[in-house]
């Protein structure tokens, strides 16, 4: 069931939601969270489609906030709110309201969203594009327990990562981080199998893909070893090579779907590491609603402390938010990493 409301208010939308729900006879409270998607018209369709797929795992009320661009000064002073209320089969499993904001109300989107939040239930805000630099202090972000950004979609992903680290508030997360969950679990499982000590790591992937940096920072943060970030043609992440005292462990994925895991002294194994679509990522992100401490720790390691093979220059400037022990640890193994560089280059394609 789909209803269009033109020049409306949040209270009319609320009434329509109750009416629609009664008309189709489904109760509201199976819904476990409110997902707020803040986007522009261009990305709204894809984002909503992803959210609607994700709602099969997490029944939710989805509020899509579309900020319309006003072309003339007259449009900017006039304020209008249009809504499309979808319940039942048109809205995945849950309810969807597409809110189109025109004119002045664009700057006051939180006033529209606040009355439409489900009682008590957690709120997640997701910016598929154009995420604010400080999500927790964004008026919409402030309503939420979790704030999902996507550095993959921005102009300068690596720079943006540094900004995210500066503004990090518990509850922040990034889809670039979610993308590497299978990699992380595979690498962790691989290391669990062997009793070797990792001495250096190389993460290889396409340029301008912040997932590579995040994976590198995670490894550097957890293993306390120097990590090199090198570039390849993609797609996405292509390989992680770990040098251990009992030989290399390599996870290599050249085609974006099937990877090979090779551990010294063990047969090579094929591992499914498919690049996942946004719906799966969002569904995974919604599984846990408490702050992601591992992400925070990896992010705060600092992009500029990663070693680079030269084609992409590292961000400049000293970072101050870095905890002291890690800083000390990073200095010591630096020479070792350079010593291993030739080995790594040879392994690269």
């Amino acid at each position: 069931m789909k209803t269009d409301l033109t020049d409306t208010t949040a209270s009319k939308i609320n009434k329509e939601l109750v009416r629609g729900r009664r008309a189709i006879g489904t109760p509201a409270v199976g819904m476990v969270l409110t997902l707020v998607i803040v986007t522009d018209e261009e990305n709204a369709y894809d984002a909503l489609k992803a959210a609607s797929d994700a709602s099969r795992e997490h029944p939710s009320r989805t509020l899509v906030v579309i900020k319309r661009v006003s072309r003339s000064p007259r449009d900017r002073t006039q304020s209008r709110l249009d809504a499309e209320v979808r319940v039942g089969a048109d809205a995945g499993t849950g309810e969807t309201v597409v809110l189109r904001l025109h004119g002045e109300v664009v700057d006051h989107a939180q006033s529209v969203v606040l009355p439409l939040l489900l009682p008590d239930a957690p709120v997640v805000v997701w910016w598929p594009v154009n995420a604010p630099l400080d999500p927790a202090n964004d008026p919409l972000g402030a309503l939420a327990q979790r704030r999902v950004t996507d550095t993959y979609a921005c102009e300068q992903p690596v720079k943006e990562l540094a900004a995210r680290a500066d503004a990090y508030t518990p509850g922040d997360t990034d889809l670039s981080w979610t993308r590497i969950t299978p990699w992380r679990s595979m690498l962790a499982a691989a290391l669990d199998q062997v009793a070797c000590e990792v001495q250096g790591v190389e993460v290889e992937g396409e340029e301008f893909n912040p997932s590579c940096e995040l994976l590198a920072m995670w490894l550097a943060d957890r293993l306390d070893v120097p990590v090199r970030r090198s570039h390849s043609a993609g797609p996405g992440l292509t390989a992680v090579r770990m040098d251990t005292d009992c030989g290399p462990i390599v996870l290599d994925r050249a085609d974006g779907s099937l990877a090979t895991l090779s551990i010294q002294g063990q047969p090579k194994r094929a591992v499914a590491l498919k690049r996942r679509d946004t719906a799966e990522l969002i569904a995974e992100e919604l599984r846990r609603l408490d702050p992601d401490d591992t992400y925070a720790s990896a992010l705060r390691y600092g992009v500029e402390r990663l070693k680079s093979d030269g084609s992409g220059s590292p961000a400049k400037g000293e970072r101050e938010a870095v905890p002291a022990p890690v800083e000390a640890a990073a200095k010591a193994p630096a020479d070792r990493a350079t010593a291993q560089a030739p080995v790594n280059e040879a392994a690269a394609k």
Binding site: V18, P27, S111, D120, R288
Partner: protein, 450 residues
């Protein structure tokens, strides 16, 4: 029958009623019913201090009584400003309209405000009771006519699963909220100087609290109910430090639900230096065996996030958790929420394991909604209450003692506010001033988002 100053003929009055019925009746408009109703519709033009007008009123009533065969039974619905009360009541008495004779009845319906403090309420009661006996007076508090409010009694006393935990051993605290998304609209003259606490807490919220907290009445008749409500209102204890445990606010300019809203002080007809509260939050205790130590947080306000009234009974956390803290990080407190309006119903919140290989517990809700379990439309609150007046059933009407006890609770708070500070400002469209959040934070709790 209508009585007012405006120059209307019977037909004008009937037309006004006709239009209102056609637009707002919850059942379809039926011409034959309307024809029956219109037979008894009259309008008497007059003023409150004019004897002649009341003579005409009496004449018309007597004439109608004969024509319609109402057997001398009349109910007077006094929708008049408080200052006109004495004169109207006296006029009714003077012209013999209030005298019950030979088996017939006379009843008076009074709307809020029932005074603006204890003293004025006592005066008002004295004036009314001089002419009408206590059992002839019906004070309309339309909240009590709502299905969900009556359902509080059904929920508590017709079931076994709620009452055993309905006490200090299990309940952590209770939050009673009545939020409106509108401003004062055109009611500046009435509202300024009265404020949210007098307008809502004194009657609606304290009544809801009484129904939530009272002991089981011996029976469901008016006397037994009133006795229990009176007992619990009498046991209410005010916070020691009124500055710490009460908060009042005024809405400032902002955006509400996507529309621009002006601040209270900029509303038309409001004194820019007004100290009237449009938001009030107070913490009360109830000194009895059942509730000692359990705070009741009452809040109300205009221009809040959305229009909602609910009672949330929030339970204590489990005394021991065998799960680690990561598993229960997202788990809140169990709660029973009675949604009074809109979307009337009851929600029960508790933790449940999230499907998957790891142990993770998250809040889920179980819901009962009137609109889904009973698709028949329930009577409007006023519909129910007016019927009760005609039947003489005073179950759902607060009595003199309850009104006076409520003022006894609120008066010290109002006095404190009068002499201390100014209302906190909150942007329109939010859930009230930050001071209110801080008030609960000090107690280690937080307001629910209704």
């Amino acid at each position: 029958m209508g009585f007012a100053r405006r120059e209307w003929a019977n037909e004008d009055f009937a037309q006004e009623v006709h239009d209102a019925v056609k637009e707002h009746a919850r059942t379809p408009f039926r011409e034959e019913v309307w024809q029956q109703l219109i037979q008894g519709m009259r309008f008497v033009q007059g003023t409150f201090d004019d004897d002649e007008s009341f003579e005409r009123l009496r004449g018309t009533i007597e004439e109608l009584d004969k024509a319609q065969g109402t057997g001398g039974n009349f109910a007077f619905y006094l929708s008049v400003p408080p200052r006109s009360f004495p004169v109207v009541i006296q006029q009714l008495k003077k012209h013999g309209l209030a005298d019950q004779t030979g088996g017939s009845w006379r009843r008076a319906v009074i709307e809020k405000p029932f005074g603006h403090d204890l003293k004025s309420a006592e005066e008002l009661n004295a004036i009314v009771h001089e002419v009408f006996a206590p059992d002839q007076v019906f004070r309309i508090d339309h909240y009590l006519g709502k299905e969900t409010v009556q359902n509080i009694l059904a929920l508590r006393f017709a079931n076994t699963m709620f009452e055993p935990i309905w006490n200090r051993s299990f309940v952590d605290h209770v939050q009673i909220t009545m939020a409106e998304d509108i401003g004062i609209g055109g009611r500046a003259g009435y509202y300024d100087g009265i404020g949210a606490a007098r307008d809502v807490i004194q009657n609606h919220l304290l009544q809801l609290m009484a129904l939530t907290a009272m002991e089981e009445p011996a029976s469901f008749d008016a006397d037994a109910l009133a006795a229990e409500k009176t007992k619990v209102l009498g046991a209410v204890r005010l916070p020691k430090d009124l500055g710490r445990d009460t908060v009042r606010g005024q809405y400032a300019a902002g955006w509400q639900g996507g529309a621009k809203a002006v601040g209270y002080l900029e509303e038309e007809g409001i004194d820019p230096s007004s100290k009237t509260d449009t938001y009030a939050a107070i913490r009360l205790g109830i000194d009895n065996r059942r509730w000692a130590g359990v705070p009741f947080y009452l809040r109300t306000g205009k221009r809040l996030g959305r229009r909602v009234t609910e009672i949330a009974v929030v339970f204590q956390r489990a005394p021991h958790s065998p799960f680690d803290t990561t598993a229960t990080e997202e788990l809140g407190s169990n709660a029973i929420v009675i949604r009074v309006q809109p979307d009337e119903g009851v929600t029960v919140r508790f933790g449940s394991k999230v499907p998957g290989t790891s142990m993770e517990i998250r809040d889920v809700s179980m819901d009962f909604a009137y609109g889904e379990s009973f698709t028949e439309s329930s009577p409007e609150a006023y519909e129910r209450l007016i019927l009760d007046v005609l039947l003489g059933d005073s179950n759902l009407f607060p009595r003199t003692e309850e009104v006076e006890l409520s003022w006894k609770i609120l008066d010290p708070i109002e006095e404190y506010w009068d002499t201390n500070g100014r209302p906190a400002q909150y942007p329109a469209g939010t859930w009230g001033p930050v001071e209110a959040d801080e008030m609960l934070e000090r107690d280690g709790r937080s307001w629910r988002r209704p």
